[in-house]
Symmetry: C2
Subunit: 338 residues, 2 copies
């Protein structure tokens, strides 16, 4: 018997993928291995992404309000659709919960789900409700669409492409550290009131109620920019960059001083004695987009405040490195998914 | 605070449905409330069904082999597509599992998933693998298609329509009783070998490795029969008949002597001192199809050994009754979903 931990998540997915037959349905364009499956629906490509959220693994109801959890679950799936350069259309949600939840808790959860559906302009079209013997489980499946000439995979980047990332990174992870600290304070003395300051509001919001970057999908179309490859940053920049490079057969150099990090994240990282770069590389849950563009395309994006160039791709797949201001290069290793 | 048990599953789904806005995407044809959501994909309708399977609620790994569980999970979702008179095309599977499972167990689970995908001719195109703190969780999303003139909802039956059911009912529930009995014997004395006889093989197979009735979807098309309404029998005949009547605004009369029950189920019911009719009405997990046809359509099906007429629909929605040979009528109540 082989311990599951020896494989890791990538190893497990590879193993499942390798044993899965090549799709035979004529409208299946792409199966396992990207952020979403891709189908030929005539005038456009269809997309389907499925995610599972498990209590105690993905969320802690001690500090996650159910309304935020509902919103975040939809964000989770919509972000996968955005990573294919697509827009979400419909969503189904499966919920398993024990009878410790009152009806009002279910209402709260669905309030968040519906708020996200309204924000992303998707229809909630079905799902499943069932009982659970222990924790809360959510499954989210999102259907999306993308014009055929806009579809963006993770395996089509080329050497010399410019690596871009949206928004900022690491804030969600630092928000989690703040919430975990408050939880410990609360557990030690349940009469203590939380002391989360206004100055940390952005970090907590990034952790509890993140938004998927469908705005960027619209913006890239408006700017007439077609990314050469794209992936969403759900498990941390390091892990996603390695996925993209591995799939595309490229290496990469990213510059630490270019990684976009919010001021609040810098301050909190200092407080927790964590390197802000480490938080950005391995923290996860940012739901930003990491994409590449051909060098000649980049100038269309250079003035965009929501998009930052952090490096470029190289021809040697064995070299995925972080370059420091001082000129040092260190290999990037994924930690988020282990 | 309101206890979730006071609502029941139907009440909960109604509550969620009522609070959900009417779909606004132009290609959403039908949202929450049927076996699958329905989309306009140009030349055909698209279908999406999502189901969750939770360890300790839907399955007991003491006697459910993982390969069978994988197969059954796909059957679960494919049956929803068949209930819309559609055929499955692609499937995604989310798996959450703890590290108590070795790699070989994951292989076994996926062997069953792939066997079912081959049997139903669907592509496994993606999903999610994640860790779980306690039990095994599976989520299955199935995409299907149906020609626009073949789509079959549950709310379009009319009085005088003939009620038909495929295969036989109650066997999966009695198979579960057999497995539960063996489990108790095993728990009392782990050295005892299981004593499941060959004569009960059909019941155990119906519980552990049920098939969705895509064959019937093909057959109805071959026969040129368009059902007036359809639903799959996952929670027991009583519950599904009530769903269909409630959605269509009709009543129904079914005849106990007409309910198709396998000989092995009769024998096992006797052994367990359960009424075989009760097993068929409330047992669940049969994955057969319950459908209605206009009276003039029924003769095309009358000679079909896989389809049984069990009654007819009436105009009074308050009267959904079981009629006995002796002429007695008793109201049908759902127990499967409570």
């Amino acid at each position: 018997m082989t311990d599951l931990n020896t494989l890791g998540e990538i190893g497990l997915i590879d193993r499942i993928k390798q044993a899965t037959p090549i799709p035979t349905q004529p409208d299946t364009i792409r199966g396992i291995g990207d952020d979403a499956a891709v189908f030929d629906w005539g005038d456009q490509y269809g997309l389907l992404a499925t995610d599972l959220l498990i209590e105690g693994v993905h969320f802690d109801l001690t500090y996650v309000p159910l309304k935020h959890l509902g919103y975040k679950a939809i964000t989770f799936g919509v972000s996968d659709i955005a990573a294919m350069n697509g827009l979400p259309v419909q969503v189904t949600v499966g919920v398993a919960l024990s009878s410790r939840f009152p009806v009002e808790a279910v209402d709260e959860l669905y309030d968040g789900i519906r708020a996200a559906c309204a924000a992303y302009n998707v229809d909630l079209v079905g799902g499943d409700t069932t009982s659970s013997r222990s924790g809360l489980v959510l499954s989210v499946s999102v259907l999306g669409k993308v014009p055929k000439d806009k579809i963006t995979y993770r395996n089509t980047a080329q050497p010399n492409d410019v690596l871009c990332v949206t928004g900022d990174l690491g804030a969600a992870y630092l928000g989690l550290q703040l919430l975990e600290r408050e939880k410990q304070v609360f557990l030690a003395d349940p009469n203590m009131q939380p002391t989360l300051s206004e100055e940390r509001a952005y970090l907590v919001q990034r952790q509890l109620r993140p938004d998927a970057r469908t705005d960027i999908v619209h913006e890239l179309r408006d700017l007439g920019v077609q990314p050469s490859a794209m992936i969403d940053v759900s498990d941390g920049l390091a892990s996603e960059l390695l996925h993209l490079c591995r799939a595309s057969g490229t290496g990469a150099v990213i510059f630490d001083e270019n990684i976009p990090i919010d001021d609040q994240a810098y301050l909190a990282a200092d407080e927790f004695n964590i390197s802000p770069i480490t938080a950005a590389l391995n923290g996860g849950e940012d739901y930003e987009l990491l994409f590449t563009v051909r060098p000649q395309e980049y100038e269309k994006l250079a003035q965009n405040a929501r998009i930052t160039a952090i490096g470029y791709l190289t021809a040697d797949p064995s070299q995925v490195v972080l370059a420091t201001k001082a000129g040092q290069q260190t290999p990037i290793r994924a930690q988020g998914w282990q």
